[in-house]
């Protein structure tokens, strides 16, 4: 009895210990800590946009046109006299939401397709993977451009376009994880107790495929934000007057020569900081979840 009790006590300590180790490694790395803080800050700003933004983001003002950053307009105004700071804060909502929705859609589709392909093998695997190969044959951005250009650039189509270009990443990743997990003894155990195949795949095995997928999804979030901005920059993404970082950068680009640098610089910085932050957090997560790093304290 005592051996059983002490064994479990070790188990609990081990679990807490792992969380502690993860936190210690994270806090030692001030760069990833800053990145995490940046993401949280951007999310809070986006959620609290109506409270935080000092001005109405879409209200033009004839007397405030093209003001340099100053006391009234911290980040200046654009050619319609709209406050840049307010627009950047409101744009965070759009960019994050589109990226998040696209990632969620791609992740869901990738999980279903990858799990089926990996577990079933054979014809299902062939069909899914060849379809995925077809998508991957196109450069991702060109494909996203094509989809928004063909389907019309409503926000929903932007989400769909980015989701479609991201599906192959998740499908291949989940499939390879599933190939590993389906041979585990707990998979065999789930089969011997008579679970239906659907339940074995999606309830017992899929969650065990998740650790590398979480890393990939974090990295892909950054890439999705970049794609939204890029599509909007060339006019195929989010449409004006809706404020969006890429579209704002595009508007500002034509004023660089005439000296109004703040119009493109600040939305550009917003894109850069956000994407960088997601990439840094993704890299840190990869290190933390890497099985080879688990034993290392």
């Amino acid at each position: 009895m005592s051996t059983l009790a002490s064994g479990s006590a070790e188990g609990v300590a081990g679990r807490r210990g792992r969380a502690a180790v993860a936190w210690r490694r994270l806090s030692r790395n001030s760069l990833s800590l800053a990145a995490l803080a940046a993401i949280l800050l951007i999310i809070v700003l986006a959620l609290a946009a109506p409270l935080v933004a000092p001005w109405d983001p879409d209200a033009p003002s004839a007397e405030d046109v093209l003001q340099a950053p100053g006391w009234h307009h911290w980040l200046g105004t654009d050619i319609y006299g709209r406050d840049q700071l307010s627009r950047i804060v409101w744009a965070a909502r759009v960019d994050l939401l589109v990226a998040l929705a696209a990632t969620a859609m791609a992740l869901t589709a990738g999980c279903v397709l990858g799990a089926l392909a990996g577990y079933r093998g054979g014809l299902v695997d062939q069909a899914v993977m060849r379809a995925v190969d077809t998508i991957m044959a196109f450069p991702a951005f060109i494909l996203a451009m094509g989809i928004t250009a063909a389907a019309g650039n409503a926000t929903a189509n932007v989400v769909l376009a980015i989701a479609i270009t991201h599906v192959p990443i998740y499908t291949r990743l989940i499939r390879s994880e599933m190939l590993r997990v389906r041979e585990m003894e707990y998979a065999e155990a789930a089969r011997t107790v008579g679970n239906p195949q659907r339940r074995i795949i999606f309830y017992h095995l899929l969650p065990n495929c998740f650790p590398p997928v979480i890393v990939q999804a974090t990295l892909a979030m950054g890439f999705a934000i970049l794609t939204v901005a890029a599509l909007s920059f060339i006019g195929l993404g989010i449409q004006p007057p809706q404020s969006e970082w890429g579209a704002m950068t595009a508007e500002g680009a034509s004023y660089i020569v005439s000296g109004e640098w703040w119009i493109f610089l600040f939305p550009g910085l917003a894109i850069m900081v956000t994407v960088l932050a997601f990439n840094l957090v993704g890299d840190t997560l990869r290190d933390l979840l890497d099985p080879r790093m688990r034993g290392v304290v």
Binding site: T3, L4, G7, G11, E188, T192, G194, N195
Partner: protein
């Protein structure tokens, strides 16, 4: 009375790049009601494959080529898949070799057991939970409420194996197949687990097939023993007969390989290694390792002959010796 499980002429093959591997070759095996049968052999002798074949869970590239597996009078190999699924877990269940990896790492152990009551007995969550705690208590786990909420990595190996056994017996199966249930455990915990199986088998009325390479475990637990070598069944006898009068040269070698401290006899390992099952020769697969090999051994496969009421052996040499001295 018909046996609970009756395997006849079972062949299982695996298609590999080098050719077809015959993992199980024409096995005949019966398990009586309430009986504890030991299935013994070296690694790679086809014990686990035989067990999975009973569940009809041989996955590609493996397949069951021919044979019948009658369970409670029905041929499992002919059942539609959804009926077979109702047999798995409900009437036949399995205990695995490494209990920690056989439990899903992301689900609390209690939930994994409760699931079985919902799946096979249509229990509501509260009822399933109540029965789960009862079952965990039955297999000797203290504080079942707390344990049920924990995950496999928080439990010791012995506790994990108790959970596995609780899971296997949860739905009162008629047959429990335990595949090396004590191999991953240290000796004292292994003894507790074996006691548990010995105790719970008769109590729940389940027959047990105990797969092991450890003859000491067999001696302590089983009524009858079947010895496998390279996918073939070489001898089957009740446990006393097998240890006192092993007939097949391989069984004799196995019995001699048990370490003894009470006698001067030195431990002798079985000579040679399990032969490749790739394009296996037509005769007895033990022929290349056998000290008593005859010419016929390499050409034809020995048919099982009865040496006693519950003693069968498949060996040309034994047959020849009996023909020479029929009185013995």
């Amino acid at each position: 009375m018909t046996p609970l499980l009756e395997i006849r002429g079972l062949d299982v093959e695996f298609a590999t790049d080098e050719g077809v591997v015959s993992a199980v070759d024409g096995i005949d095996l019966g398990v009586g009601r309430g009986e504890v049968l030991g299935l013994v052999g070296e690694s790679g002798s086809g014990k686990s494959v035989t067990a999975l074949a009973v569940f009809r869970l041989i996955r590609p590239p493996g397949r069951i080529v021919r044979g019948t597996i009658r369970f409670e009078g029905r041929d499992l190999l002919l059942l539609p898949e959804d009926e077979m699924r109702r047999v798995r877990g409900a009437q036949i269940s399995m205990v695995f070799q490494s209990p920690r990896t056989a439990l899903n790492p992301l689900l609390p152990v209690g939930r994994q057991i409760a699931r079985l009551y919902a799946l096979h007995q249509g229990c509501a969550p509260a009822e399933a939970r109540r029965r789960t705690l009862e079952m965990l208590g039955l297999v000797g786990i203290p504080e079942p409420e707390r344990r049920a909420r924990q995950y496999a990595h928080q439990l010791s190996g012995g506790t994990c194996q108790r959970v596995m056994i609780a899971m296997a017996l949860a739905t009162s199966p008629r047959l429990l197949i335990a595949d090396e249930p004590t191999t991953g455990l240290d000796v004292s915990i292994a003894a507790q687990i074996l006691d548990l199986l010995r105790d719970l088998g008769p109590r729940t009325g389940a027959s047990i097939v105990l797969i092991t390479h450890d003859l000491a475990v067999v001696a302590g637990l089983c009524d009858r023993v079947a010895v496998m070598h390279a996918g073939q069944l070489v001898e089957c006898a009740d446990v006393r007969t097998l240890f006192r009068e092993p007939a097949h040269p391989y069984t004799r070698a196995l019995v001699r390989s048990i370490p003894r401290v009470d006698r001067e006899a030195t431990m002798e390992p079985v000579p040679g290694a399990v032969p490749s099952l790739l394009a296996a020769p037509p005769g007895c697969r033990y022929a290349e390792r056998c000290p008593e090999v005859l010419d016929t051994c390499r050409r034809t496969r020995p048919a099982p002959i009865a040496l006693g009421p519950r003693h069968e052996v498949a060996c040309h040499a034994v047959e020849a010796a009996r023909a020479a001295a029929p009185r013995r």
